[in-house]
């Protein structure tokens, strides 16, 4: 592989005469990183691919027996796992839609001359930088039915957020919206500030109404960057583990990552969990692929 990558270098140049050649520098700079990632990211995945065809349990010393595709077949026929995927899908839709709505909305509000705009923007971005697990834990106090400030501020009495199986998923999504709307806002602001001003001036001359201006000028021009925000957040929300795991233990909030964690590290069904991990992995790679394609598209502009 290394020899095929070699490009020609003028052997008589002074740089080639002493020190490393460009080719060896390139290889020296790139290959260790690729190797590191292969050893610590790809090799483990090959390892778990092997286990996904066995009935291995990491909690016992019993040797792993090859069971073929049984794990995959069982998982795909397991209504329990399907319900985890359904919960995850519902969670992703609620939380990403909420983030899009709030994030883009706040960006529209901020996209004007406002005193201390820089400071306000930075303050608004703070939630997304914080640890989901640690801040998520504190939201338990905020959601507390008897002395949480959320119920107090909204006058909801002793409304159950996390203890009610129906409500818990929305509560987790609400916290996620709080944390990640700033991300959508940040990208939206970049998109909004890139809209050429002369378009608005032209629209004003044509006496276009605010709705027309928004739907015909603002939205189409910001759409690509909003799409990036949506795909990225979809991918992240699909993987959510910390927040839901910390906030509740309701079966109605058992996202696919949580199911995977329980299967692997509480029930110790190692082989089966490896198979489920692979199903999740393929889904994530598919979304990543879409994401990267979009990134490159937007970059080209």
């Amino acid at each position: 592989m290394a020899t095929s990558m070699i490009t020609t270098l003028d052997q008589s140049s002074r740089a080639a005469a002493r020190g490393f050649s460009d080719i060896s520098i390139r290889n020296l700079f790139i290959i260790p990183t690729i190797l590191f990632l292969i050893v610590f990211n790809i090799f483990p995945l090959i390892y778990s691919l092997g286990y996904s065809f066995t009935d291995f349990r990491a909690s016992t010393n019993a040797p792993a027996n090859f069971v073929g595709l049984k794990n995959y077949r069982d998982l795909l026929n397991d209504p329990y796992v399907w319900s985890n995927f359904a919960i995850t899908a519902k969670y992703v839709i609620i939380s990403v839609a909420g983030q899009l709505f709030v994030g883009f909305g706040v960006a529209m509000l901020l996209n004007r001359d406002i005193p201390l705009k820089g400071l306000l923007t930075t303050l608004l971005l703070l939630p997304m930088m914080l640890s989901m697990a640690v801040v998520g834990l504190f939201w338990k106090l905020l959601y507390d039915p008897s002395f949480g400030i959320i119920n107090y501020a909204l006058g909801l009495g002793t409304f159950e957020w996390l203890a009610d199986p129906k409500m818990a998923l929305y509560a987790v999504a609400l916290t996620d919206i709080w944390m990640w709307s700033p991300f959508v806002m940040l990208l939206s602001l970049a998109g909004l500030s890139a809209v050429p001003k002369h378009l608005y001036e032209a629209a004003a001359i044509d006496r276009a109404g605010p709705f027309y201006t928004f739907f015909r000028i603002t939205l189409p021009l910001v759409a690509p960057i909003l799409m990036i925000a949506v795909i990225f957040r979809t991918m992240e929300a699909f993987k959510t583990f910390d927040l839901a795991y910390i906030l509740t233990s309701q079966p109605t909030t058992e996202l696919i990552s949580i199911r995977l964690y329980k299967m692997a590290f509480q029930e110790w069904q190692t082989g089966r969990s490896c198979a489920l991990a692979y199903i999740v992995l393929i889904m994530v790679l598919a979304i990543t692929n879409i994401y990267v394609k979009y990134l490159n598209k937007v970059k080209e502009r």
Binding site: A15, I30, L187
Partner: protein, 319 residues
């Protein structure tokens, strides 16, 4: 935006400003609540209506760092008078500080977890940014066959859900004795951040004009010298921004730490929630621990404010 002219547009603008302020207050309320609860006496942490105005106390932090037990009998006046101020605040809360046979104060689990977080986050950041800078330069300046595929491969390793990677890593670490070790977590976080650092640094490297190095090469520098003496100083801002992002990611990480560590190398994120046992937790202590843990990230966010967009989009969108 079109220039503001009519009185209705002025009013709309004012309304938007008010709305922005309201939104900011709502978004910051949970963070403010963490900070204020960290300085409350325990009995004011869970009141209805919520206590907003109070005399700030340092006792939650004293309790955060020490092991305590319930006081069966109140301390005698002599004991109380002999105790240092930090012990008195614990007495006031109806508890006493646990001491060992030699009378040494027993620390809680928090300081060591905080230290672990620092060790793991700083080391993995140095490794990831170091390797990432070299690799980004390689991708930025040289022709690499299948560059797009390699970059996608690098990025995809970052996108994997932590639990998916954690299952085989747990088994492998168990086989080689890396479970619950600093080194084990450092390797994981380095691998996790390396892909991010390559992507972000490549953006910064692409922005440094090639002509700088070419001029240096003409002047007789070797490529290595040109990299270290010309490119690295130019990339300093980018390296700093990337490092802060990597640090924050490693500092905040929860799932790997939960699965791979339990005592010796446990970091703060899995430890802080484990303080909430059964019964009524002391939220002031949790808030104090949370406050100290969030403080570095909050400071870094302000330092990073001009690079946030770039970092959060993997260097794809630049201002």
């Amino acid at each position: 935006m079109a220039a503001v002219r009519t009185s209705s547009e002025v009013a709309a603008n004012r309304l938007a400003i008010v709305a922005v302020l309201v939104v900011t207050i709502i978004f910051l309320a949970p963070i403010y609540w963490i900070a204020s609860t960290a300085f409350k006496p325990r009995n004011l942490a869970t009141t209805i209506p919520p206590t907003v105005v109070f005399q700030p106390e340092i006792s939650p932090f004293v309790k955060l760092f020490t092991k305590r037990s319930q006081l069966r009998t109140p301390p005698t006046p002599e004991e109380y008078a002999a105790a240092p101020w930090w012990e008195r605040v614990v007495f006031d809360g109806g508890e006493k500080i646990v001491r060992d046979g030699q009378g040494q104060v027993q620390w809680s689990g928090y300081p060591s977890r905080f230290l672990n977080s620092l060790i793991v986050a700083i080391t993995s950041t140095i490794l990831a940014v170091g390797m990432g800078t070299f690799t980004a330069y390689g991708f930025s300046r040289f022709k690499v066959k299948g560059e797009a595929d390699l970059l996608f491969f690098i990025l995809s390793t970052r996108m994997l859900p932590p639990v998916v990677v954690a299952i085989p890593m747990f088994l492998m670490y168990r086989a080689v004795g890396l479970n619950d070790s600093h080194l084990g977590l450092i390797i994981l976080y380095t691998a996790f951040n390396l892909s991010f650092s390559v992507w972000l640094m490549k953006g910064f490297m692409d922005e440094i004009p090639k002509e700088y190095e070419e001029a240096a090469l003409v002047d007789g520098y070797t490529r290595m010298e040109a990299f270290f003496k010309i490119v690295l100083p130019e990339a300093a801002t980018g390296i700093a921004a990337t490092a802060v992002f990597c640090f924050i990611t490693a500092w905040n990480e929860y799932a790997f730490a939960l699965i791979m560590t339990n005592r010796r190398a446990q970091t703060a994120p899995p430890f802080i929630p484990s303080q909430v046992g059964s019964g009524l937790p002391d939220w002031t202590v949790i808030a104090a621990g949370t406050f100290l843990f969030l403080l570095p990230v909050a400071i870094f966010t302000f330092l990073l404010r001009n690079h946030l967009l770039r970092g959060m989009s993997f260097g794809a969108i630049r201002k």
